[in-house]
């Protein structure tokens, strides 16, 4: 059971990019210096299965052990080409879709995929309106489709909800346009981790994970 020390990235007013580390084995025990209880743990999971993180809690209350803290890092939701709206068959005129819309399970980048008769696909741009994770109304014109070729384009913005989809006319009624979402990684931030509760005798947070594939962690310290 190897012990692996992670050096926290200390945040500064100048701004920094945290270091994300993969974990070698589920049998590893990870330690992070946490002298002041100012460490954040940021987990990212791009696997189709959830990951469980267990933070050791050595504290006792009135002689009774405090249960370890456990966190489930959500799984990555796979991309679904028609996850927001089923393919819409071209009608030779622009359509604005406001019904039959399914929002992504978590905020996600939106995709549009052209299909059907290739020679009917036009170099159009789908417009998506909805809200972001902070419930602000946002609108984005997606990148242009490739003419006469099935194409998937992806938004740069992340949508929590989709309220309308504007699809201009293609070059023929054999073309289709499906609206979906890109893969959504699982993400969990844990803080605060009170030093008096979670630290070992040497001032470390100690934790383990259920499985390591596709899981990364950044230890981030407030200065």
């Amino acid at each position: 059971m190897p012990i692996v020390d992670l050096d926290p990235t200390v945040l500064t007013t100048a701004g920094v990019t945290p270091s994300y580390a993969a974990i070698s084995a589920a049998t590893d025990v990870l330690r992070v210096r946490n002298p002041d209880g100012k460490v954040l743990l940021h987990f990212k999971n791009v696997n189709a299965a959830t990951r469980t993180v267990t933070v050791d809690v050595p504290s006792t209350v009135a002689g009774q052990a405090v249960p370890d803290f456990t966190y489930v890092v959500p799984s990555q939701v796979a991309a679904v080409t028609n996850g927001v709206h089923a393919a819409v068959t071209d009608t030779a005129v622009q359509v604005v879709v406001t019904t039959g819309i399914t929002n992504p399970t978590r905020p996600a980048r939106i995709t549009a995929t052209s299909g059907g008769t290739a020679t009917d696909i036009a170099d159009i741009q789908v417009i998506v309106t909805g809200t972001d994770a902070m419930d602000r109304v946002i609108t984005e014109t997606l990148p242009i489709f490739t003419e006469n070729s099935a194409t998937t384009v992806t938004s740069t913005e992340t949508f929590k909800t989709v309220t309308s989809i504007t699809i201009p006319a293609h070059d023929g009624t054999g073309a289709t346009t499906a609206i979906g979402f890109a893969a959504i990684p699982g993400e969990t931030i844990v803080a605060p981790l009170p030093a008096g509760v979670v630290n070992d005798d040497a001032g470390n947070v100690v934790f383990t994970v259920s499985a390591v594939a596709d899981l990364t962690v950044a230890a981030i310290a407030l200065s």
Partner: protein, 114 residues
Amino acid sequence: MAIVDLSPTVLTTAGLAPNYATDLSATDVYRVRNPGKVVLVFKNISGTSRTVTVDVPATVAGQSIPDFTYTIPATTGDIWVAPLPPGVVNDDAGNIVFAVSAGDGLSVAALQVA
């Protein structure tokens, strides 16, 4: 120029996923309540770097302090900023105020440590 208030996500020992505000605009000004434990996380997936400017209203001996600027790298930019000392960066109402050079592909999460 609209003023857009962003509510910080208060971190908890129970863990949570941060909320990112996306589709930022260079014509807007963003405000975040800052009791002193706010972390700003900027992510940029556009092909061009973005510049974030945090207003610094504080002065030293009557001299103004330059605003804080951050370059968020293109494509995979991921910059965390903290601490943001209230006595330096907060406006009279206790807010951090910042603007961005361009918004496409840039998102921000305001996190508050409990």
